[in-house]
């Protein structure tokens, strides 16, 4: 068992937001989805106040050892999520973490109040890879703006608040520190790295222009950022980015993560989370071998 923000979890492997749709998976795999659920908690895709259709296709590009996506956060909006999705997600055999995003603090407060009031929701994850309406910069790209954002929101969240950091910033550890100082209960990282692909005639391939890179190509970046953040904050860290085998999970845990999330690898193998969790159970001793960073010794101890 693992305890994360007071939530009991069967193992330390969860999904990255937006990389697993449990409702669609139940359509594809039936009851087996609940019986063999690969994660110890389920993180919803990002919910916004109003419904979003998402970006025009194409939305995917297979990159070197990875994937660039420009999905555009399609979702039913807060009301649709609470009415249609939440009852179905509540049937999952694991705790539920709802990921939310808004472009102003007022929007996010409305989201976290409504989501946090629901018993089915164990924790809230805040997606801060969203442009600030005033500056145009991502809210999570700058420690001061992120700190102010979390400060405004934290009192309204009745559940543990996880801040999902963006890697597209000069100093992710400073941003994490600001989140922790303003009351975030945990941070999760990394989100996708901003990326793009071109058509043969030199235009942007993705319908949304630029997108986010994930998959094996980003693991080394994730390891560096988790290590940097673990040196600066004491709150739990959910590490993710390119985890495709047990050894990657072990390395992120050694770097200071409390949980790891699997994302793109689930596209290749829907049971990837379960496979990695099983590997962690069977080879716990290996965690001590990966002490590449100062943070690692703290985790191993």
């Amino acid at each position: 068992m693992t305890t994360f923000c007071g939530i009991e979890l069967a193992h330390p492997v969860i999904n990255g937001s937006g990389t697993f749709d449990a409702i669609a998976a139940r359509r594809a795999f039936g009851d087996a989805l609940d019986e063999q659920f690969p994660f110890s908690a389920f993180v919803s895709k990002t919910i916004t106040l109003r419904p979003r259709a998402g970006n025009p296709p194409p939305r995917l590009w297979e990159a070197s050892a990875g994937l660039i996506n420009s999905i555009g956060l399609p979702n039913k909006g807060l009301a649709g999520y609470l009415e249609l999705d939440l009852p179905q997600l509540a049937r999952l055999p694991v705790p539920l973490i709802t990921n939310v995003m808004g472009s102003t603090a007022a929007e996010v407060i409305e989201l976290v109040e409504a989501v946090g009031a629901r018993d089915e929701v164990a924790a809230i994850e805040l997606n801060v890879s969203c442009p600030n309406v005033e500056t145009g910069l991502d809210i999570g790209a700058d420690a001061r703006s992120l700190g102010a954002f979390v400060r405004a929101i934290r009192p309204h969240a009745l559940k543990p608040l996880i801040v999902k950091l963006t890697p597209n910033t000069a100093d992710v550890a400073a941003v994490a520190e600001a989140a922790a100082a303003e009351g975030a209960d945990a941070v999760s990282l990394i989100n996708t790295l901003r990326a793009m692909a071109l058509t043969s005639t030199g235009e942007a391939w993705l319908g949304g222009g630029a997108g986010g890179l994930s998959g094996p190509a980003v693991f080394a970046v994730a390891l560096a950022q988790v290590t940097a953040v673990a040196r600066r904050v004491d709150i739990p860290i959910v590490g993710m980015g390119g985890v495709r085998a047990t050894k990657h999970a072990q390395e992120l845990l050694s770097a200071g993560a409390s949980l790891v999330a699997v994302g793109t690898e689930s596209f290749r193998d829907p049971l990837a989370g379960a496979r990695i969790a099983k590997g962690l159970r069977e080879t716990p001793a290996n965690r001590a071998e990966h002490t590449a960073s100062g943070a690692a010794t703290r985790q191993v101890a």
Binding site: P57, L60, N69
Partner: protein, 269 residues
Amino acid sequence: MSQASLERRRLSVAGNDEVGSYRVLRLSDPDGPPPTPGQFSMLTAVDRWGGGDDERPFLPRAFSVMRVRDGEAHYLLEDVGPGTNRLCELRTGDEVWVLGPLGQGFRDPRDDRRAVLAGGGVGIAPLAIWQDALLERGASHALLLGFRDGEHAIGANLLRCAQVATDDGALGHHGYVTELLASELDENPHAEVYACGPPLMLEAVRALCEERGVPAQLALESGMACGFGACFGCVAPLRDGSYLRVCVDGPVVDGALLAEVESHAGSPA
């Protein structure tokens, strides 16, 4: 519809046969869930998936099940990118990860309509298993197939009693399969059309059927990352401005739902 297990199945290659410009990858799958015609699977070679040019392929590739016969599942391949290239070179005894069958397949014709199957290129694959099902129940149907040239048209031998069109006139009707379809609907308008092929062909089929008031079930193709609704990458726009996911809401879609079949054949290939 048939349901996949959550666990990918590791299957052996029983054969990989050259058929004109295509290959038929035969996987030994005696215990697999029988697919509904039109459903698809995600395929990944167990060995050397990745590490090619540009470190691709990385994601699994989606293929309609072409046929299930004698304990084997058949998939039709055309070498058009790193994923299909790797699958094309597999030999007997090599292994493939298979997730499937997935998605929504073909539904029976409405109102005693006659099934008219129209396929283009590698899109003939789901029509083969659908024709097998129609033949098994003795259902009258027409089969119209289009190819770019004679080498590709050899693929027509994988199905039965096809009327063939080729872009270059090497075999059958010199022109498009949609011209054969228009003639067929002139003769037998009480039809339901089942089509799979490149986006331009599917759009022509959709528009023709809309004009004639004939229902059309279109098997869409899209680049996919997952095949089971997780990534939201394989969307097709609907008339109402929203999107459907080709993997879980399709790949077989009622043509009336679409304003047009968009030509965005996505990476990966």
